[in-house]
Symmetry: C2
Amino acid sequence: MAKKDLMTPPSVEQLVDLLRQLPGVGPKSAQRMSLHLLHKNREAAAALGHALLQAVNTTRSCKKCNGLAEQDICMVCLDNTRDTGVLCVVENPADMLAIEATGTYRGLYYVLMAKYAPLDGVEPQGLGFNRLLERVQDSLVTEIILATNFTNEGEATAFFLQQRLKPLGLRVSRIARGIPIGAEIEYIDPSTVARALLDRQKIKLTD
Amino acid sequence: MAKKDLMTPPSVEQLVDLLRQLPGVGPKSAQRMSLHLLHKNREAAAALGHALLQAVNTTRSCKKCNGLAEQDICMVCLDNTRDTGVLCVVENPADMLAIEATGTYRGLYYVLMAKYAPLDGVEPQGLGFNRLLERVQDSLVTEIILATNFTNEGEATAFFLQQRLKPLGLRVSRIARGIPIGAEIEYIDPSTVARALLDRQKIKLTD
């Protein structure tokens, strides 16, 4: 590898190493990206550098929901057309955006800062759970939708939350599991098919 | 889309737009990357921002080969253990790194700043061709290896270069086309198989 180090200027090596930390970027893509930026599109490289620093400097976590915000409170929490009675608990801001992209949810959100992952040493107290409880008790929330992922950790988090929320007498729901729209059942994993059968919805027959 | 704009802080939107300009990054990956950086790894975001600006500020094109360098002349051109008699012409610095990674080539390089693409308005004079000619005439080069890609544009560039280099009386070669190592012939496109047959290499029989 000494030969490669000799070839690549140190500032480029450092850039490649940092690009590799992006999700889904391997060593080959990181190299391709850095050469693209420095060889073909230096203006874009500088613009991206400035945009990263600006985003780091101007964004913070919303004090109410933990989502990304440029002020103390994010634009969703500030939006007074939202239904303040429903709170959707998600694992991260990307999930929040995915739900928002449906255009069908008009309630508020709470972004857990981590998921319950005892194997990784992330215990429930690290989830910002007390802040969620305060958030629920200080507000008009009557229903909590648990929208953590259907992974082991997301399920454990949802289970943990539902137990703690039970004494508060709120309506607690979990987003539905089942066959994705557009999917063919033969290609879906058995546990999802089993769940889709178990959670079957009664069809109202019309004449 | 107005709803989405409301959701995402402007500095994050800008970051997503710039990340999308990276090769191989679509809208979904760009969003995932930006949320990963701003939500989970803000130190990495700041480090990447600084690294981009530093790389833009410290790197330039090598005055001899056009490769990426931190001084006027890159480390390959400065390396006096290199064979100055052979010059490998490539389309971009990534190709140079790919050849360098083989560890088998000890000559020098010349990076074309563009490929011959008449349909995109890139005419041969834009290829830095005169600089390549000067480079060849001022030096000890006796063989030129044309290592442009086997795309239409790369082939056109190689053809154009070989015609212009002919009068100089140098040995001009083209890297070999054929079946990639590890590949199965039945999955290779017909024109590559045809070329592999045409360019078959005589085997020296030993007893």
